[in-house]
């Protein structure tokens, strides 16, 4: 029963997001508003309220963040904003928090595995890179991510062609996706190009 009431409300939120998008003229503001639209879109999926809905939200989330990532980079190139920011914020907690907080998130993410784990662990790494700066780990992480993608594809075909090895496949898939998502998210942190670059 709740669906019939909740759906119109969520659609109103979608409409608000698009009205905002309609009257907004600034390019960067538009980019930010896409995030709002994304949230309302996910809300429609969330209303379905089955396990399937949940399995659909996860890809939806990843699609949103990847498009945001690509577009933000296009925006920077388009506007010619190539120089790194001159002064970077530094707080006391940025010395102390990342090691523990990032560590907890990464460990928990590895326990979770799969998409969710990848996002959580990626956030942990990203936070660490954000606070500590980074060295040139770019290539290695990217390679690892590529292999993990291949691992996941292999797992997919095991599921489809040789389902009796499902246990192996589920492990490979969980691990592959974890590494893949985590690596990509972490790399965002190194792409900040703040100090130590």
């Amino acid at each position: 029963m709740s669906y019939e009431i909740a759906l119109p409300v969520v659609l109103v939120a979608v409409a608000i997001a698009f009205i905002a998008l309609m009257i907004e003229k600034d390019d960067l503001h538009r980019l930010l508003l896409t995030d709002l639209a994304e949230i309302t879109g996910l809300a429609i999926i969330a209303l379905v309220a089955t396990d399937l809905a949940e399995a659909l939200i996860l890809p939806g989330l990843v699609v949103g963040i990847s498009e945001l990532m690509a577009l933000s980079e296009v925006y920077l190139v388009k506007e010619g904003l190539t120089e790194t920011p001159k002064r970077v914020m530094h707080l006391e907690v940025m010395d102390s928090a990342p090691a523990i907080l990032g560590g907890v998130l990464v460990i928990y993410g590895i326990v979770l595995s799969g998409f969710s784990g990848g996002a959580v662990a990626g956030l942990g790494l990203l936070f660490w890179f954000f606070c500590k700066g980074h060295d040139e780990a770019f290539e290695i992480i990217e390679t690892a991510s590529g292999y993990s993608w291949a691992l996941w594809i292999a797992a997919f075909f095991i599921f489809m062609l040789a389902p009796q090895y499902w246990l192996f496949a589920v492990m490979a898939a969980g691990g592959g996706i974890l590494l893949k998502v985590m690596a990509k998210m972490a790399l965002v942190g190194t792409m900040r190009g703040g100090r130590d670059v």
Partner: protein
């Protein structure tokens, strides 16, 4: 019964602190009120669900929000100014 009384107290104090926090004009002076609300909410978390893990949740929430308050105050104050 004792939990209920404690819950009522925590709830009322949380609401009170949240209200004062939102009414207060100055950013720095908001933070102590926020702190009181964090105490109350951490208490509520434990009282709502009596389980060892909810202690972890309460601590995580408390530390997290303290960290947040710390970061906000420090950022407003200008952070570390030595670079």
């Amino acid at each position: 019964m004792a939990e209920l009384i404690a819950l009522y107290i925590c709830g009322v104090i949380a609401l009170f602190a949240a209200l004062r926090c939102l009414i207060e004009k100055d950013t720095y002076l908001k933070l102590p009120y926020l702190n009181v609300m964090n105490f109350a909410v951490a208490g509520i978390i434990v009282l709502v669900l009596n389980h060892p893990l909810s202690l972890l949740a309460a601590v995580a929430y408390f530390v997290g929000s303290t960290l947040e308050a710390n970061a906000i105050a420090s950022a407003k104050a200008g952070g570390v100014q030595n670079d």
